[in-house]
């Protein structure tokens, strides 16, 4: 039954390996399951040693945890990837055009394709960005497009993470781990490398220098909230791999219209700041006054062309869940083409008709908070108890505009290695997209998140999800 309802990416219903997995399945057959399980433990020790851990908010004793890693790769064929790549490029192009428009002439609102209220009353819309031109015209330097699959050729975009998508360090370290553990697989299969990501990121950021930049080598820095942030490992990792400075707000000060870092020799200006701090905390003078993570006045320097901030402030309006349902229109409006990647059908609970439908079908739907993230504050209808459904209904009625609803998608599965052998589990995929004024680069691969619990559809690492290495095959 399980096999019929959900698309298994590795095996057909007749238990034959699908084309992209053929060589892998053949190799797997010849392996001793016990050895493979031992490899699994090895992987965990490896992750601990290099310190790829994350902190879970609100859990004091387990301040450093590992995201479980599954050693069965998720494999995508060259053809499948080519289509995804085209679709993502189109979508990201549209997002950047939308952001420019929404912070300038707002043609899309004038054209009646997106309602005014959804922008004006949205916290993700940053009025301070109106009329600002980010260096190189790029708003979203880094995007992590969340995709889910429901069939052979059925891919949907679940979310456009256009603020500060995380997880790319897992994409890179998962690959390193697989290379160390199964070198023989990489000689048999033509797996496209992901290791260029840090170099591409650096180049992409360097292509967006601000007008104030002088000299020949831009100074790039990664801004982290600090070692207690859940993604600190990634911040340090990326700075290290790019050869950039890893800075915290305490290291930064504004001198002569530039944002400078305090070095052992004095203050040195930064050209491009890859910030891993949310908009609201970026600048206590311009945004949240209680922020200790930000740099007072950095936004003024930005507006005056003294620094590039990546991603630009205010990009959240493009990946806001309230706006998500308009994405097909947005893509068409700015590219003149039909969207290549599908959107998940979405009911906007702010609309009375939709709300009625949602309330009537709550047990079959997934309801999300418009501003929520990380799988928190969301209802998975089919998995919820009666009491949970009732409680959620109350919340919905109280503030319908705070929610959107989507059908429960039949997420595809990829097997994981369990004590009893291979067992299918639901997955999603986050490819990483880099935008520079010259080009859009998508690393062939991405982060595959997997719900380790049987039947679970929630892949978030904060809620029992794990990761897999993602292999995109060459031609």
């Amino acid at each position: 039954m399980e096999n019929k309802r959900f698309f298994n990416e590795m095996f057909t219903e007749e238990a034959a390996a699908r084309a992209p997995y053929e060589a892998y399945a053949q190799w797997f057959e010849g392996e001793n399951p016990r050895d493979l399980r031992a490899k699994s433990d090895e992987a965990e020790a490896f992750f601990r040693r290099i310190g790829i851990t994350f902190n879970v908010y609100g859990q004091k004793d387990a301040d450093e945890r590992l995201i479980p890693f599954d050693i069965v790769p998720r494999i995508i064929s060259a053809l499948e990837w080519a289509r995804l790549e085209k679709g993502i490029q189109q979508r990201v192009r549209a997002i950047n055009a939308f952001l420019h428009d929404i912070y300038h002439r707002q043609e899309i609102i004038r054209a009646g394709r997106v309602p005014k209220e959804i922008i004006a009353q949205n916290e993700a819309f940053l009025p301070q960005m109106v009329g600002v031109n980010p260096p190189g015209g790029v708003y979203t330097h880094i995007v992590g497009t969340d995709l889910v699959r429901t069939g052979e050729n059925e891919f949907f975009v679940l979310e456009d993470n256009a603020r500060t998508p995380s997880g790319v360090s897992y994409m890179l370290e998962n690959r390193e781990t697989m290379l160390q553990m199964f070198p023989e697989l990489f000689t048999r299969l033509n797996v496209r490398p992901v290791s260029n990501y840090p170099r591409d990121l650096r180049r992409s950021l360097a292509d967006c220098v601000p007008p104030a930049f002088k000299g020949n080598k831009p100074v790039i820095a990664v801004l982290t909230p600090g070692i207690h942030n859940s993604a600190y490992f990634e911040h340090a990792f990326l700075a290290d791999q790019m050869g950039a400075e890893l800075v915290e707000a305490v290291d930064l000060q504004i001198h002569d219209g530039r944002v400078c870092m305090r070095t052992t020799r004095g203050y040195e200006p930064i050209d491009v700041l890859y910030r891993r701090v949310d908009d609201a905390f970026l600048d206590p003078l311009n945004f949240r006054p209680d922020s200790l993570l930000g740099v007072p006045g950095i936004f003024d320097v930005y507006r005056a062309g003294g620094i590039t901030i990546a991603n630009a402030p205010g990009t959240g309006i493009a990946d806001d869940k309230a706006l998500y349902s308009y994405m097909p229109d947005i893509v068409e409006f700015y590219t003149g083409e039909k969207a290549i990647l599908q959107n998940v059908p979405t009911w906007r609970c702010s609309e009375p008709e939709s709300l009625k439908h949602v309330l009537a079908n709550l047990k079959d739907l997934v309801v999300k908070e418009v501003h929520g993230s990380g799988g928190y504050g969301m209802l998975v209808g089919p998995a919820a108890s009666k009491r949970e459904l009732q409680a959620f209904e109350k919340k919905l009625r109280a503030k319908p505009s705070n929610y959107i609803a989507q059908p429960t998608l039949a997420l595809s599965t990829v097997p994981i290695l369990t004590k009893k052998g291979l067992a299918p589990r639901h997955v999603d995929l986050r490819p990483y997209v880099l935008v520079s004024p010259k080009q859009i680069t998508i690393t062939p691969g991405g982060l595959t998140r997997v719900a380790l619990k049987e039947g679970s559809l929630v892949v978030n690492s904060s809620q029992g999800g794990g990761t897999k290495d993602t292999w995109v095959l060459g031609e």
Partner: protein, 313 residues
Amino acid sequence: MLGRTAGGLFWMFRYLERAENTTRLLEAGWRIALTRAGQGTNEWESVIITAGVRGPFEAAGLDYEAGDVINFLIRNPNNPSSIMSCVAAARTNARMVRTALSSEVWEAVNECWMAVKAVLTRPVTEKTLADVLSTIRTTAAVVRGALHGTMLRNEIYNFCRMGTFVERADNTARILDVKYYVLLPTAAFVGTAVDNTQWETILRSVSAERSYSWLNGGETSAAGIAEFLILDRRMPRSIAFCLSKMRENLGHLESEYGARQPSQDLADALVARVSGRKIEDVFDKGFHEFLEDTIQDIAGLAGRIETDFRFYT
């Protein structure tokens, strides 16, 4: 390099050095406890004083006996200088400055922390002490090995080394100061059994019992030990050695930055104090005063370095 990073590197290696020093101190103390059981004098008290934690130790209501002292110095979370606290602090600093470290150094310090944490989940007993101390020493040595073997010889390396030598110079000076009275060349005490054991303890707590006896053909004397630990530049834990290394590293920074710093003057003055002198001369001027001044001036040098290179947290 960020000033905060320089500070993180400096402190990472100070903490590691401190953890190692405490290990040595405990080994020496443990040996005395074993060889001189029931002879009255309490070596554990001087171990606690040397480690600079007398206040918190007594405030915790603990006794100067093996179990209390060992566990306080090794794993008590309320003792900021306990080995566990030091290793954790070293790792936290390493995490903060990770981009400045080679992956081998980072992994070594992370593994050191994991190993120490694992052996310290339970209280240390007489049976497990030797193994625990050996785990700490071995894993900390790997960090140093990775530093020497994989790091560029640039400013990063200089800040790491200065952290090590400031801490070490301070430690050696403290060990001598706590025991200065057994080293005073007062005829009445020389050569008694008590002194011989005390002298041996001093040498052991700086891992120098073999090298000293090799250099002196087995002849032990108070003046000889004091000279070895203060003035001998061949001895990697002597005050003179550590201070000359400080000066050397500051010199590298001067040529890399193209500017001389006030901390260099302090280092020069400190080096001069232990250069071309005879130990008798030190004794004549007041041994205890000399050590007190040295401890204070080393702290002053560390503070000046923090200012010169804009460390801050």
